[in-house]
Symmetry: D3
Subunit: 332 residues, 6 copies
């Protein structure tokens, strides 16, 4: 059996108002299922990298639909657990032009938030894992989720599974009584690869750095396992037009991707997860950082053209954009 | 200022799979807002009876949309409170033929569940009330909701406002630590008009009656204020075909409506609320029970032809069906 | 050039609330174009009988779309005139179960209502006509329309073109200052074939007959040209379930079709026009009345299964139902 | 009771072809209700300013739906009258890229066009009014509408209600036999605040000014009550890309807003009404002209991102754009 | 690893006109993927029986989508092959009332039709198989498909895998130059369980039996392996109303299910496949024929309520209908 | 009878994933009918030039729908033949931003591919023709199609009908055993007007030119009848943003149109066919090349704003863009 990239995190039902309509105009909502980590698993599966997602879903028709959405895309669902609690949800108004997207989260008390240490057989999973990926959203959800995340990191270390963590600090979560700085440092230092920005380092590790370079240098110098840091610079001209550039800090210097003008944005959600999947693809396939940052940023750019949370581009499609040939051109 | 019928209860966002599709097939969900008591308020407003709904909604775009859905139909929304908690939701798969509708409730911990005694100024409201209506769903949601319901009943009594209660026992609620029989009897005996079936009496009052007639007789004989009991008999041939008949117990005997063959059902939800609104219309307008039971059952029959939770039929439309002229016939 | 059946009448834009939704729920309206006489032309074209429709449309994008809807179905549009006035409209709520369909007409002051005698070159048209068909809606719209109708009948008589008239009395029209009995008798007596019911004879000719048979006998006995009278009996169980039977009075007796149970009605509008087209098909093709009444009623039954105003069934489809083989059965 | 901004004008049903499709492609039309003045009332209600709209609607399901659309958004509908005539309509093809939007108006002979002096109790209304707003569309519809508008202005003057008028000259209206210069001067000089451009002054007052500044100076110098003039400059790169800048003439000089690049336009209709509502918000709240012109132009910019006729942005949303922080950026 | 039911056959893209609309009205087509044998695999997976489907799909986005539709429902897709040819398609007009459904097949020259003997490693598959199912459609498609089917039957026999065959004779296929009676007898006699009707026996085996009982007796008496024969009687009242009863011939007698009145049919396609899956469920789980025929017919009845080709009912849902409790009743 | 422009070529059903969704996301596909040559015929009809399309369609409901789509737009369909084979199809994913559109063709073995010499009565057609247009797609489909194309060219020459050919080389076609250079030269030299680019000349005629100018000079100098060559330069910034400029080589020099920035592209398919129709409009109406190239490029620009394969712009709409007044501006 091929080894799989393992991702851990909540899968939510996303309910979005159609097109550019507002919540108070919508008579239907469009449904997809996603979550920062599951999006990475699906993207990797579309790129041809075997992936399995670990989560806990409600034992009802919504949980079943969420599971089917992963299964459809070829993500292994054998490690998913079920419980009697509710589905995590989020409501999305897409925004357009100068009007920003709006999100109403409704994820408290979900089946995933009630996950408990001991639920997941991490030893068995990590034995067959090629990579482990987590994000800073999981430990922000509940103490149980944070503990399960730590269990995974310990098992990953034991079985020498490379680990990536997308710090992704979310101020509105972290409501279960622990401070982010109580929890995150121990998790972050168990990563080989980080996606983080200047404020993520500040919020999660308490670092006050004068520049992103200084923070990256400190991360690769002082954090136990961290070898590389990646990040995307996003300039928001409007909800319909962003500019995007990715960077990788390789321990000594920054490798930069080209800068994409993302005009005519279709769906902005999941752009970071597509970048993350692109990074894992590059690193797990043994590419160098110069290629990897171009690949990951191209993957992220393509995500903005696809409705839903996930970049479903194939390897060939991302490579075509990396090469920059015939961008957007109809080939018959 | 005209006096208004006052209704109290949760308003939920209903998310239904389109047409006959299943949850796992749906890529969009249709959105309406409703709740057993709010549905009665909207129906009454459509029948020309001023109505106001009392509830507590989340202070976000979903709560605003729920409020607008009542306001659109002419229900007074001046007594609605807002809080920081979530919107109650329910997911609906319509069913068809031999396949029953399915509901996934997701209403725990909602803004309404967090309502507290003292929130609503019932004295001010009841001074201007023509009627008060509640259902057995409200006291089943939380202790706070039960207490607020009792506050309303006390104030209604003080200002001599007629009270109707739809017992509507829901086994899946009642999870806050009180037994239904601890709470419901004191609320039920403060009603002038009840909608209840044999099992509702058994579950809420602990009565073991040998017949519905015996239970009704006991209700009007022994419960402090109760004057009348109404109910609908529903025979389910399939999800698409029910037969429906309404009855009123007037203290001495049953008045029965004609029996409607409800073939080609469009939306079964809210059939009972439409019946309830029809009863209130009949009683508040001074009609006799023979008319009232025909009117209420016709209103309920029409509801089954209307998508959504609410019977939006006008007075003229219900009366046309009561008269039985040109049923379903296109008049140019 | 093959001779064509000529129909005269207004083409309206129909705007219908989707599915079973009510006007006040609809956020989109479905658009088709139709009119009692144009529906007959389209049906005949679908049955393989060359047909041309004569009307007057507004010279704007809506008039163009109406014209294209006829052209698409193969109806000759070379005799259509254009003017600066508005498009006639009607709004339709489909109804369901015990709830009747509702129509809001908005056809006053339309381009067709402003048609004037002399506009249409009836001589040229009738020279190439195989049949002429009109309905009682046209003379009800405006004096100009009534006069144009009379012009057509005179020219038809001159060129010995058989004429059918569907009396179709509409009380809400007839607002231009003439009484129906001032206008209709002269038009009716120029028909060879009538579709009319007991009340149509009463309203348009002032006849008080004790039975439909008596009225038919009087029509074929006393009206100048009338040879046959046809009609459909429609029993409305609900908006979703009608029973339908067609009859032809052949001057001496009634020929009756089988009685169709029309359960699960999809679209009731245009049922009469489909019957009319079926009659013309039968008569123009030289079939006997026994066949013709079965064919026309089968055509009308099929119309109820088709969204929109028009029966687009082919000859083969109607004949299959007439034969009664494999009704509704999937043949692979 | 809080005083309300009063708006007067026709409410039309808007029927638009979905997305970028053309009239001749559309099989459904999207329905919203709007009118230049009602759009202002709804926008103000969304900004938290109490508002009431005065109009005359048909007494049918379409008039009811139009009324509900205002009521839903919190506009007071107690001063709306009903009549037997038709609903005013307009058909919209959105346009895209180099292809302009197209409108087919169908508003003649509407219930509003038949409004008559004496219908509205302006004395009662103006007693409770905080502001009165009208546009040049109303007096262009019919003599009755022009007279009712004058009645309102006289009553506003009597009760010292500030008045704004959006001149909005429409050449295609003005078909009832009066010249625009017979009617408009007397209405315009009763305004405190005008929205008008150079050609509006020329068409409605007969002024031939060499510059917009000259016209504005003349307006504030010579027109009885006029204190300020506002306007938007719109540069049309394509149907999908406009540039927009607002200005206020304060009697002495122009205050200019920033210039918005409106790329990716969602719905261009109602941009001027959103600007108007923004002006009223600024002025009625006591803000200075520098703030007011920025606020109104930001409101107008946001409108272009919202489907339908109306800017439903909240105060907080407009202020966020005025501040220019995080334009279009997803905030979680 | 759990053993799986193996199904073999073409998966087609189904393109159906929405609702009751006709092909010539449809501006969109609804897409699902299905095929007689794959439908059985999906149904079994929904009932909790592990299943794998064997087929050959085009190596393009359509083939990928077809594969994902199976994968989503939990069917194992590891034995699917890919080729350069086209996707098999069929176009469906649903029909309604007296108007029958229409199908336009477009499946010639598909990737599946080009399957060749030796492509599938049947030895490896049958070692892990719990059951093998095929239908008479596969050998009708191409000689290669017939040969692959025979390969499968030989391997199944070798590994003692029970075999079911749904004879399903389709006159319009069989165009590759072989007569049905040249091919089918050898395939049929390798089955343990048959689904066949009187005409299937006649067309495929050349039997002229005087009754279905006689044919069944002959089948179980004379065909090498055949133990049981099952069939459904379907009475077509209209496209919207069928009556359905299943039977199993157990070698000696018929076991009959109850007769379902299928009014309000949602989607008639795949009713037979749902029956087949129900039979396999019953037999593979060791139930007796009396239960199995009730279970399979209930499964088929439920299929008619579900849009698409497949019965996605769970075991619990089918059992609830078998028990006949609360048919179609909303349970909260 | 007015003479018509005659076009020859396959009409395909186009099935496109809605909006920006991907094939694997689509649950519906949007249906239009088109083909390079039929698109020219429809465009010309919309511009007021009589046109007839010659093709061969399957004799089923899909072929009927394709025919109706031409008939609707006023294209003469009297020369269309029918056969028993299948409808040619293509599946389209629109693309967006940096993600290119994707097409899956499924047109082999279509009714058109089976067209045979002798099928079309070209003598009768060319007698009444004002122009003949073909493209390089037709001879690429099958030998029969190539032969029919040559028949048409011979007849056109006989009746002195001007001929335009859009070379449009498609590498993926040409699978019937002939080399492109065996077939195309004889067809190309029978054209008066060519649309071709540098690589078209190379692929079809084997010319290796150092510049487009050199190739054009060679074409007008050496090819028997060719007088002019036209082409469009398209720069693909992204799938949503192209730049477009047209040129005509008049035998001596290039005439260039303005360069259009096509941001916010709605539908890119058919841009070349709209250009072709614009050229024919200009040339057949006697305009000079300077006007013609502006007109044709404006027509092509407008096409990009219209969903579907065809530019349905009217003459007035194209002229308005040529004049460059009020580009994209709403005129009331």
């Amino acid at each position: 059996m091929e080894k799989r990239v393992i991702t851990l995190g909540e899968v939510m039902m996303r309910l979005s108002a159609p097109g550019c309509s507002r919540f108070t105009q919508a008579t239907t909502l469009e449904v997809v299922y996603g979550g920062a980590e599951a999006n990475v698993a699906v993207s990797l599966a579309c790129l041809g990298i075997p992936a399995a997602h670990v989560t806990r879903l409600p034992e009802n028709d919504l949980g079943k639909a969420a599971c089917q959405s992963l299964q459809k895309m070829g993500v292994h669902i054998g490690h998913i657990h079920y419980g009697s609690e509710r589905m995590g949800l989020y409501f999305l108004e897409n925004g357009a032009m100068q009007r920003p997207p709006r999100i109403v989260y409704d994820r408290f008390d979900s089946a995933f938030a009630h996950i408990k240490p001991g639920t997941i057989d991490w030893e068995a999973i990590m034995k067959e894992a090629s990579w482990f990926h987590w994000t800073g959203i999981t430990p922000a959800i509940s103490l149980g989720a944070a503990e399960v995340c730590m269990e995974a990191l310990v098992a990953a270390e034991k079985y020498k599974v490379p680990v990536s963590g997308d710090i992704n600090y979310r101020r509105n979560l972290w409501q279960y009584g622990k401070k982010v700085t109580d929890i995150m440092p121990a998790l972050i230092e168990r990563c080989d690869y980080l996606v983080a920005g200047l404020t993520d380092f500040e919020n999660c590790l308490g670092w006050k750095s004068s520049s992103f370079e200084e923070a990256c240098q400190k991360a690769t110098d002082t954090l136990m396992k961290v070898k590389k840091v990646a990040f995307t610079y996003r300039e928001s001209i409007s909800a319909s037009h962003n500019n995007l550039q990715g960077v990788i800090w390789d321990g000594n210097k920054f490798l930069e991707s080209r800068n994409y003008a993302l005009t005519h944005i279709v769906d902005r959600v999941g752009g970071g997860d597509a970048f993350m999947a692109g990074l894992i693809y590059g690193w797990i396939s043994g590419h160098d950082d110069a290629f990897t940052v171009e690949f990951a940023t191209a993957a992220s750019a393509l995500k903005h053209s696809i409705p839903g949370d996930v970049n479903t581009s194939t390897l060939e499609e991302v490579l075509q954009l990396v090469k920059g040939e015939n961008t957007g051109k109809l080939l018959r």
